[in-house]
């Protein structure tokens, strides 16, 4: 059954078709796409690749806990020798028997990909040659992999730019599906047993099949004008060589799909820029551009039953009629993309740029592609996620399967030299393997900062010893921001967390200024939930938490008001009482070392001590800033 509602000309499908044609575009990053839709995209892509390469295309999925052994396997090249264990140890990324077959490697969330898989992507994406040197394996091959990864735009700051740069083609899900088309899709979905939503049942539109078949046999050369346009589109101030190359290749692939064209023209460069969401530069003087090429007529499709293209439904009948495809060539004069002087792109909204990593602040640690240092307070428990295995130096946290597989290599030789017959496997201490785990913090620093009472106080100096402690102890850190300016919701507090004190969002929190309301009760409630989760939840539970509250206790937003997002009438002491009540719940948790930094307010000076008592916290005063007054 053909794919319902898929237009051969939708930007996403067009982009996939280009990747199927050009090996240099086979690292695709799709922003803000639902997992189910990504599966369908993967299936379409596999079909296209099979068509253009003439070889089968298989799909594998990498996850947030893929390890090196899973990715690369541990068996020798011919793969037979470990069969007696009944385990298949071929890796997900191991070279295939058919060295021309293509693999589509799917990553559902690039921001949460395991470190081993991220490093594998770095090694393989766009590489001329791949090298496998693990556990006796020695392989060199040209990888035929098409990477298909998804990522929410707002999480792109969690990904290393070095890794992101490997993704040549940036796409977004189609946003222009008309309501009638969607309605037709729904009708087909609910009435057909073989669901069109099922990725297994996806097929390509006939026209697209024809286009790809034709395009895979032809090549196109670049016109100089097209090359020049590509270079200017990808910037003079912020030159990224791979982006320039990707746009040039995309334009060339568009030209290949264009049956009537013999070379890559400005029109194809325009189309390529549109496909990935590159916007023209704003302002500047017009330059001496070549004469715009005459716009093409909209392609006339051969009449076909499937998939239909729909206009708005007829009011009388409620039915829509098939019509011309909704994607048409743009019938307009060529837009001006550049001025005489180099200019930067105006790409601040992240949802309109193919490169959001240029505008989103970093949310990752430095050197995020390195295996983390093993310097960690030994707490005798194995808690972090597994990164791999290594030779064991004790019997702690043994990786049993890896140990057995290591021992398997020597069984024949050991039995040959063994004086006696022994059942089972013969193990040696050298076989022992243990897990290599990501370090997990076992302590937490939780700061509750009430910005409305911090003026004229040297509060940051007062925090320094605690921040130093968090750094030394590798504690994770949570900052609850109460009454900060610039928030859409003044009546609610906000919580940000990070694995390390060095994370940029944490330092940004120290730069905030006071807002208009003090939702202290809500802030303490967020702290309570964070402490409960950290101290009591799962295998990663913390051994101890340090709570630091900087507040004068004058919460003026009742907890109910924060939850509802509005306050009715006068609040009186309700906000204060709610804060004290939540503080008592925090006190009851245990394993929390609480400290309240007293800003020494002139009004209601008894409130900070009352809050400290409710928290079970030690009270300290915050020194005044030089020249400040309360």
């Amino acid at each position: 059954m053909p794919d319902v509602g898929v237009s051969s000309y939708s930007p996403l499908v067009r982009g996939l078709a280009c990747a199927a044609l050009d090996p240099g575009l086979r690292s695709i990053l799709v922003f803000d796409i639902a997992p189910a839709e990504l599966q369908r995209v993967s299936r379409r892509l596999s079909l296209m690749l099979s068509l253009t390469t003439g070889h089968p295309a298989s799909e594998v999925t990498l996850s947030s806990n893929s390890t090196d052994d899973e990715l690369w396997g541990i068996e020798p090249a011919d793969g037979r020798q470990l069969s007696f264990l009944g385990i298949s140890r071929r890796g997900l990324l191991s070279p295939l028997d058919d060295d021309r077959a293509v693999q589509v490697v799917v990553v559902h969330d690039l921001a949460r990909l395991s470190l081993a898989a991220a490093r594998a992507c770095l090694m393989l994406a766009g590489a001329e040659a791949a090298h496998l040197e693990r556990h006796g394996q020695h392989r060199i091959w040209r990888p035929h992999i098409c990477w298909l990864a998804a990522c929410p735009s707002e999480d792109v700051g969690r990904i290393s730019p070095h890794l992101l740069d490997r993704f040549a083609l940036r796409l977004r899900p189609d946003s222009d599906v008309t309501r009638p088309a969607r309605a037709e899709w729904l009708l087909a979905e609910v009435s057909d047993e073989a669901s069109a939503a099922d990725a297994e049942h996806i097929a390509l539109p006939h026209e697209l099949v024809q286009q790809l078949s034709r395009a895979s046999k032809v090549s196109r050369t670049q016109s100089e004008a097209a090359l020049t346009r590509v270079l200017r589109l990808t910037g003079a101030e912020t030159y990224h060589p791979r982006r320039t190359l990707a746009l040039a290749r995309l334009a060339r692939a568009c030209a290949r799909l264009d049956h009537d064209s013999r070379e890559v023209t400005l029109r194809h460069v325009e189309e390529a820029a549109r496909l990935i969401g590159l916007k023209p530069l704003h302002g500047g003087a017009a330059e001496d551009l070549p004469t715009p090429e005459p716009p093409r007529d909209a392609p006339q499709e051969a009449e076909q039953d499937w998939p239909p293209r729909f206009e708005q439904p007829d009011e009388a009948t409620g039915r829509a009629e098939a019509s011309a495809p909704k994607f048409t060539e743009v019938q307009r004069q060529e837009e001006i993309y550049d001025s005489g002087a180099p200019q930067e792109f105006a790409l601040s909204p992240i949802d309109v740029t193919p490169y959001p990593e240029d505008v989103v602040p970093p949310q990752r640690e430095a050197a995020s592609l390195r295996f983390p240092s093993t310097r960690q307070k030994a707490d005798g428990t194995a808690r972090g996620p597994v990164l791999g295995v290594r030779k064991a130096h004790s019997l702690h946290d043994l990786a049993l399967v890896s140990t057995l597989l290591e021992a398997a290599k020597y069984q024949v030789i050991r039995r040959l030299h063994s004086a006696e017959e022994r059942p089972g496997m013969l193990l040696s201490p050298a076989d022992l393997r243990s897990y290599r785990r990501a370090p997990v913090p076992d302590q937490m620093l939780l700061l509750v900062l009430d910005y409305t009472c911090l003026h004229d106080l040297d509060w940051q100096t007062a925090l320094l010893p605690h921040l130093s402690w968090a750094y030394v102890e590798r504690a994770n850190i949570t900052v609850v921001q109460v009454g900060a300016a610039g928030r859409a919701e003044d009546l609610r507090a906000e919580k940000i967390s990070a694995d390390s004190i060095l994370a940029p969002p944490i330092w940004a929190a120290f730069e905030r200024v006071r807002g208009r309301a003090t939702p202290l009760a809500h802030g303490l409630e967020l702290a309570l939930f964070a402490l409960r989760h950290g101290l009591q939840h799962g295998r990663g539970s913390l051994s101890r938490a340090r709570l630091l509250v900087v507040s004068d206790g004058r919460g003026n937003v009742p907890l109910e008001g924060s939850h509802a997002g509005r306050v009715k009438g006068a609040v009186g002491r309700e906000g204060i009482e709610d804060a004290l009540e939540v503080a008592r719940q925090i006190r009851s948790l245990g394993r929390v070392d609480a400290l309240l930094l007293n800003p020494q307010p002139r009004l209601y000076p008894d409130l900070p001590p009352a809050l400290a008592e409710a928290l079970g916290a030690t009270l300290e005063t915050i020194p005044r800033a030089a020249g400040g007054e309360n």
């Binding site: 050009d22 090996p23 240099g24 090196d68 690369w72 068996e75 020798p76 090249a77 020798q81 081993a116 490093r119 594998a120 770095l122 090694m123 001329e128 040659a129 090298h131 496998l132 040197e133 693990r134 556990h135 006796g136 394996q137 020695h138 060199i140 091959w141 040209r142 290393s160 730019p161 070095h162 740069d165 090549s219 050369t221 670049q222 090359l227 020049t228 590509v230 270079l231 003079a236 030159y239 990224h240 060589p241 791979r242 982006r243 320039t244 190359l245 040039a248 290749r249 060339r252 430095a366 050197a367 592609l369 390195r370 295996f371 398997a408 290599k409 020597y410 024949v412 030789i413 040959l416």
Partner: protein, 317 residues
């Protein structure tokens, strides 16, 4: 035995720009005692491409490559697994042994596991590969030219490893518009060439590159043969010491590497005497990563002040 399959890559003589990078690779070939090249730079600047192309040109194959997820048995050597499971202990040479008298390439070297870094440090400092694992006990003299590429955004190198590199190149993206255009044309031409070859046709672009590579290889081999015939005058040797002192180069290898590199540069140019110009060409390569701070993990930069100081030292008596 290093048996890489036939993988067509961009011919070295088609690599556009990046003159410092190419010079460093060529010098390290002409004078292996220079001790290897570290190539650090921005994303997408053709670092890996240039190294592979150079190896293809000089050795007729891809370089022996140590990937960042390599296991110890493949680095130092182990047993052939298929033979072992058949009851026969047949050693399998590791990558360090394969690279003997050749080039060992580590891409993304700053992401390499500390454990593997330690092994490389041991071998490069002693010149001996010690295999003591899994029942093997061997020592073999081993010498290779270590070439590493890295993106400094992902972290620096340990000072001990940084010091093992004779030359260091800071690679930046081309600023010249014409060169950028030429880079693009070359890569697209390679794409076209590969497409033609996949259809059983020949590619003039690739063939011409191979021919140019062959000529360049002959020049390089000749330069290597003549290396020790190139005279290093005493005043040049004194300038090497002065330059190393002026940059406060740490350790004792700075002036030594500088002298070797200058000599190789002269040989490369067909000269029989090292001149001041050769020193000026290689000073940054030999010294920038040996300055105070560089060896302690700070960002390596060669500033216009460094350039000026170099000229002053070379101009003085």
């Amino acid at each position: 035995m290093h048996d890489s399959p036939s993988i067509t890559i961009l011919p070295y003589t088609h690599v556009v720009g990046q003159e410092q990078l190419k010079l460093a690779l060529e010098l390290s070939y002409i004078a292996p005692r220079v001790g290897g090249v570290l190539i650090s730079g921005q994303r997408g600047t053709g670092k890996s491409t240039a190294v592979r192309a150079f190896s293809q040109m000089m050795y007729g194959r891809l370089p022996v490559t140590l990937p960042i997820n390599a296991t110890e048995d493949r680095v130092v050597g182990g047993w052939k697994i298929d033979e072992l499971m058949g009851g026969r202990a047949e050693p399998q040479e590791g990558l360090l042994e394969e690279a003997d008298q050749s080039l060992l390439y580590v891409d993304e070297i700053n992401l390499l596991d500390d454990h593997i870094v330690n092994i490389i440090l041991d071998v490069t400092s002693t010149g001996i590969l010690v295999v003591q694992r899994e029942g093997r006990r061997e020592q073999k003299p081993t010498s290779f030219t270590l070439v590493g590429t890295m993106n400094p955004e992902e972290g620096g190198l340990r000072p001990q490893l940084l010091d093992r590199f004779g030359l260091m190149v800071n690679v930046t993206a081309e600023t010249d518009g014409d060169l950028r255009g030429e880079v693009l044309r070359k890569v697209l031409a390679l794409d076209e060439g590969l497409f033609q070859m996949s259809r059983g046709l020949s590619s003039r672009f690739i063939e011409s590159g191979a021919e140019n590579d062959r000529r360049l290889r002959e020049e390089m081999e000749l330069a290597r043969e003549r290396f020790y015939e190139v005279d290093l005058p005493p005043e040049i040797a004194r300038k090497c010491v002065a330059l190393a002192e002026s940059t406060q180069a740490e350790g004792h290898r700075g002036d030594y590497v500088l002298a070797l590199a200058a000599r190789a540069c002269a040989a490369r140019g067909g000269m029989y005497r090292v001149g001041v110009g050769h020193l000026e060409q290689v000073a940054q390569l030999a010294l920038q990563h040996r300055r105070p701070g560089s060896l302690h993990g700070e960002r390596v930069l060669w500033t216009p002040e460094d350039e000026e100081r170099t000229r002053e030292v070379l101009a003085s008596a």
